[in-house]
Structures are given as structure tokens and as C-alpha cells.
């Protein structure tokens, strides 16, 4: 009760969207609050570097009816408590920060945990991605609930390393383009060889053979062929949807009905939404790290249109923008890129070395207006800024 009151007070006093403040107070009141709040409810957890928020929304939509979720992306215990207190539905889907998976597994005792992918992201906060895979593995090994089903990406060697300690892991063979963080084997550090969609290491560590879901032209889950026809763009969203639907299959949701609802999602928390600002029409794309950027840039039209990119380096973004050099910005050659955000000079320098045409925007009002819809790629806090300053 106290938590809900604080959430309301926080919203009334306009000190934020309300969720995290209430949650922090809640964690102080009862450390095992998450356990008691999830007891008797059917919980699905979603974690990974990219696609957590989108996949969580897909599971919520696909499940249908009333579902409790942390839809604002507050994905640590404080946010979980706030969401769980706000609504008491039997069905719960929680997005979980990669670093909090172990504790959240233990406290929520979920029916299903979905592990999407692992790649470099905010290294100044999370440090090294292989350590993260090791921590996931230890947490899954230590988890004593045999009924837990792990739904895991069979094409990401770091995810496979974490999830293959469970006997009943449900593997998803979904396209995964970013493998730069798993070129050396997570088990023995030697080189992993990739042949087509298969991969293996000489130490025996390899892509799981028995996969439950396969995503190609069509999506096949446990032998059932489905037509995946998303409103949202991007190959990565097809992979997210395949894993979301596999998770729903594990809790016996009818897939025909679920896929209709997932197909119809127009955007998630502003991502992919079309907004207006100062006479410009903008399509907002969130890209927080190298793999996210590579995936988003692949969705851009190849018409030489202007592209806007906004980069910040606040706490939630990671203070170190070195990762800009891991982003294949060479993909933007042929476009003119307008550089926004607090670290626009870091971005411009990166683009300059990549031989991409750029303009550093120190004064927003000087950007030429275009009749076309402009793609705006922004990292975390820059995305929030643009969502707030633009209109639907």
C-alpha cells in the first residue's frame, strides 16, 4: 500500500513518471517484496542486450487480456516492485536488466525466462560482456526450480553458453546478425567457426542441435507454421517476435491468436513512431549500442535521404562513447548525417573518419526542412529527449 501511495504522490508532485521513486521506497520497506508480490502469479522474464522492451511488449500483447508489466522500461528491482504493486493481474511480464537477472530469477521464480542476446553495451557500467554470460550461467545453474523454462537464442554463443546448463532449454533458431562479441569461444576462448547459420568451436561447444522454433520466411514453433507479418520494421523485430511467441507457447497460449495481436503492434514506447518537430516529420529509432545501431541502420531507405543521429553520454547511456567506433557508420555513406546531442562532436569525428558527409548541429533552428520523413537514430537519453520535445 505504501508503495502505491508513493507512486501516486510522485506523479502528483510531477517528480517523474512515478514508477521508480515508489519502487525504491518499497525495496527499503521489504527486501523480499518482489517474492511476495509475484507469489501465485505466472511470471515471464525477458533479458538481453537489445530488444528487451520490444519483446516484453510483444509478450504482453500476444498474451491478451490484462497483464502486469514494467512498460516504462524501469527494469531493475525498484521498477519491478512498482509495476507489481500497480496492478495485480495473474499474468506478469517483466523486462530485466542483464545485470539483475540472477536476483530477479530467485525472487520472482518465473515460469519462463527469455534470453535474447548479449553484446557490448555501456562497458563503463557493466564491464565485460563475457562476465555477464558467466553470471547468467551460474544463476541458471543454481536455480532450483525444475519447472523453469528457458527460451534462448541458439545463434548467440554467449546466450547458449549461459543457457545450456539447463536440461529443458527451449532453443530458438532466429537470425542474429551481431556476433562480434562472440568470435572467441565463451568456453575455451579459441575461435568459433561460423558456416552458414551453424557455428561450433573445436572444444565441442556448438549451436544446439534440437531447436524448437525456427524463423526463416515463415515462423515454425514446435512444428506449427505461422505467418509473421509485423507492422514494426526490421529483421531484429522478427527475431524478437519469434522469441516472444515461443515464450507464450511455453505457457500454453494459442499461437494463432497471439500472432495476430503481435503483428498489429504499431510501435513500442515511441520506438519506430512517426513524430513532428519544428516542421519536420521524424521517424524515431532507438539505438543504444553497436549491434542496435547496425540493426537500425539496415532499416534505412537507400535513397540518400538525410539522417539525423543524436548521441548523449549520460549515466543511462554509459559515460564512454568509445563504442561509436564499433558502430559500422560506413553504412551511412551516401546520406548526409546531421549530428545532434551532447556528444555530437564525438559522433561527427567518427563520421568524418568513416568518410560520411555530416553537419554538426549547434543550433536546431538552422536545420533545413525536408518534405520527406527523416529517420532519427538516438541513443537512450537522447531518444527520451526527442520523444519529449516532438509531437504525435
Amino acid at each position: 500500500m505504501a508503495v502505491r501511495t508513493v507512486n501516486r504522490l510522485s506523479r502528483l508532485s510531477r517528480r517523474g513518471s512515478g514508477t521508480v521513486v515508489g519502487g525504491r521506497v518499497g525495496m527499503k520497506i521489504a527486501p523480499d517484496l518482489v517474492s511476495s508480490l509475484t507469489s501465485g502469479r505466472c511470471v515471464i522474464l525477458v533479458s538481453g542486450t537489445n530488444g528487451k522492451t520490444t519483446t516484453t511488449s510483444m509478450i504482453v500483447a500476444g498474451w491478451g487480456g490484462s497483464v502486469t508489466t514494467n512498460e516504462t522500461g524501469s527494469n531493475m528491482p525498484a521498477g519491478h516492485v512498482a509495476a507489481l504493486v500497480e496492478s495485480k493481474n495473474e499474468h506478469v511480464v517483466l523486462e530485466v536488466d542483464e545485470g539483475w537477472l540472477a536476483g530477479t530469477l530467485a525472487s520472482t521464480r518465473p515460469s519462463v525466462v527469455v534470453l535474447l542476446n548479449l553484446s557490448r553495451d555501456q562497458l563503463d557500467r557493466a564491464n565485460e560482456v563475457r562476465h555477464l554470460a558467466e553470471r547468467w550461467r551460474k544463476a541458471l545453474e543454481a536455480h532450483d526450480d525444475d519447472k523453469l523454462v528457458v527460451v534462448a537464442n541458439a545463434n548467440d554463443p554467449l546466450v547458449v553458453y549461459a543457457a545450456d546448463v539447463r536440461a529443458n532449454t527451449v532453443w530458438c533458431d532466429v537470425p542474429t546478425s551481431w556476433l562480434a562479441d562472440a568470435l572467441s569461444c565463451p568456453q575455451c576462448t579459441l575461435a568459433i567457426s561460423h558456416v552458414g547459420s551453424a557455428w561450433h568451436c573445436t572444444c565441442g561447444f556448438a549451436k544446439p542441435v534440437k531447436v524448437t522454433s525456427v524463423l526463416g520466411e515463415e515462423l515454425v514453433i514446435d512444428g506449427e507454421a505461422l505467418k509473421l507479418d509485423l507492422l514494426m520494421p526490421g529483421e531484429f523485430n522478427r527475431s524478437n517476435a519469434a522469441m516472444a511467441l515461443t515464450a507464450l507457447h511455453c505457457v500454453d497460449v494459442n499461437l494463432e491468436e497471439a500472432i495476430r495481436r503481435v503483428n498489429a503492434i504499431p510501435s513500442v514506447v515511441g520506438r519506430f513512431s512517426v513524430r513532428r518537430w519544428n516542421g519536420h516529420v521524424l521517424r524515431l529509432l532507438l539505438a543504444k549500442n553497436p549491434s542496435g545501431f547496425a540493426a537500425m541502420m539496415a532499416t534505412l531507405p537507400e535513397d540518400g535521404s538525410d539522417v539525423w543521429v543524436a548521441i548523449n553520454a549520460r549515466v543511462a547511456d554509459g559515460h564512454d562513447p568509445s563504442w561509436l567506433y564499433d558502430v559500422p557508420f560506413e553504412m551511412l555513406r551516401g546520406h548526409r548525417v546531421y549530428c545532434f546531442g551532447e556528444r555530437r562532436l564525438d559522433l561527427a569525428t567518427r563520421l568524418d573518419y568513416a568518410r560520411v558527409e555530416f553537419t554538426v548541429v549547434d543550433n536546431d533552428s538552422l536545420v533545413p526542412t525536408s518534405k520527406e520523413t527523416i529517420s532519427l537514430l538516438a541513443n537512450y537519453t537522447a531518444f527520451s529527449d526527442w520523444l519529449a520535445r516532438s509531437e504525435a
Binding site: D124, N127, L183, S322, T349
Partner: protein, 224 residues
């Protein structure tokens, strides 16, 4: 032809370290010099190069990269005077010993008399040091504490930790080493040009680019 060679980017390239090769080759080309960027992958021979680049990596990959380099022509090439820029884990690899996975001591390549122990805490944040009267700016993220024995430091730390809170990196006749990882050459155009000039044995024409503005902005922020 000037060849710039990135060593094992699959293992040592955690923090945008590829940016150093890109900046070096671009800054040479923009002055009309012929330059190429090559990278050595797992299983490849180490080729002849004017400048070798070593980046940062996680514990396991750092150990593997060290063993691969130990068995390659790299060690004798550097002993014979080949030029190297080593950042982060690369700085530790060239030394006598370093620590990985807890306090396990691991033998480095022994090319420079420096020893790296596990630091009391991880050094994560902006790093600025004074190098020959100029500021070198960047970002560090490592768990090492490095001691130099009869080797000159590259710079004196004014913000961040570097080797030990006082000194950053080291400098020998043919090696530059710093804990400022990733795109340190991209962010510090003067440092990139100084290395290029030494490697080419020639003075370089001035080159202006947006990197100068970035460098000035970072200097303002980090010396404030």
C-alpha cells in the same frame, strides 16, 4: 606504402579500439600518403607493418592474444624496432607479467620492463594526462596497477588513474602505451600525428578536421 596493422581485433577490440587504426590511416591518406589498414585474425601470420596496434580485451581473450603473439614473429619484430601503439590490455601484454582472472599472474611478452598487478578497484572513467606539455584525453576501463622499471611514462595523470594514479602508460624508442583505450588517436589528433611522423620519419603538413574541435572540447571539460 605505409601499412598499419591491427593485431587480433577479434580478441583485443573491446572499447572501440579499431578507431585508432582508422584515425591513423585516414590522417595519413588525407595528406596524400599511401596507407593501408590490415588486421590480423586468429590463425593469420603477423605481416610487415610500419605501425602495430594492440587494443584492450577481456581476461580470457587477453591471455589467448598474448600466447598467440608469443608464438609469432611479432616479438622479434618489436625487438628489432617495429613501432607499436598499445592501449589498455595491450599495454599490459607487452610487459613482464600481468594478472588475469583474480590474482593469477600471467607471463607477458617481456618486451618492456613493466609489471601489472590487480588494482584495488577497477579504474573506470575519463583519463587526462600531460604528455610533453600537451593534454592527452580519453577514457580508461581496466583493473590493473602498472609499475614501470627504468622505463619512461608516457604522461603525468591530471584526471583519472592511468598506471597508478600518477603516471600513465610508457614510452620507449618504438613503443607508445596508454590506458586511454579505444579511439585515443581519433580524439587526440596531435598524438596521432606525432606517432605517424615518427613512424614515417618525416614532418607532416598540418591537417584540420572536426577532430580538432572535439579535442578542444574534451580538454575544456577534463581540465575544468
Amino acid at each position: 606504402m605505409t601499412t598499419i596493422c591491427i593485431l587480433y581485433p577479434d580478441l583485443l577490440g573491446t572499447y572501440g579500439d579499431g578507431g585508432n587504426g582508422l584515425a591513423a590511416v585516414e590522417r595519413a591518406r588525407r595528406r596524400g600518403l599511401e596507407a593501408e589498414l590490415v588486421s590480423v585474425g586468429l590463425g593469420d601470420e603477423v605481416p610487415d607493418a610500419s605501425l602495430y596496434l594492440l587494443g584492450g580485451g577481456e581476461d580470457g581473450p587477453q591471455r589467448l592474444a598474448t600466447d598467440l603473439l608469443r608464438g609469432s614473429s611479432f616479438v622479434s619484430r618489436v625487438r628489432d624496432g617495429a613501432n607499436v601503439l598499445a592501449v589498455c590490455a595491450g599495454l599490459q601484454i607487452l610487459g613482464m607479467t600481468f594478472c588475469v582472472e583474480g590474482d593469477d599472474e600471467f607471463e607477458g611478452l617481456g618486451l618492456v620492463d613493466v609489471v601489472t598487478l590487480r588494482g584495488e578497484r577497477r579504474s573506470v572513467g575519463e583519463l587526462a594526462s600531460r604528455v610533453d606539455g600537451q593534454l592527452l584525453v580519453g577514457f580508461e576501463n581496466h583493473g590493473g596497477r602498472t609499475t614501470l622499471h627504468g622505463v619512461d611514462a608516457l604522461g603525468t595523470v591530471i584526471k583519472g588513474r592511468g598506471n597508478d594514479g600518477t603516471l600513465d602508460g610508457y614510452r620507449t624508442k618504438n613503443i607508445w602505451a596508454t590506458y586511454a583505450h579505444g579511439p585515443v588517436l581519433a580524439m587526440n589528433p596531435w598524438f596521432c600525428d606525432e606517432i605517424l611522423a615518427a613512424v614515417l620519419g618525416a614532418e607532416l603538413e598540418p591537417l584540420t578536421s572536426v577532430a580538432d574541435q572535439l579535442y578542444q572540447e574534451r580538454c575544456r571539460v577534463l581540465s575544468a
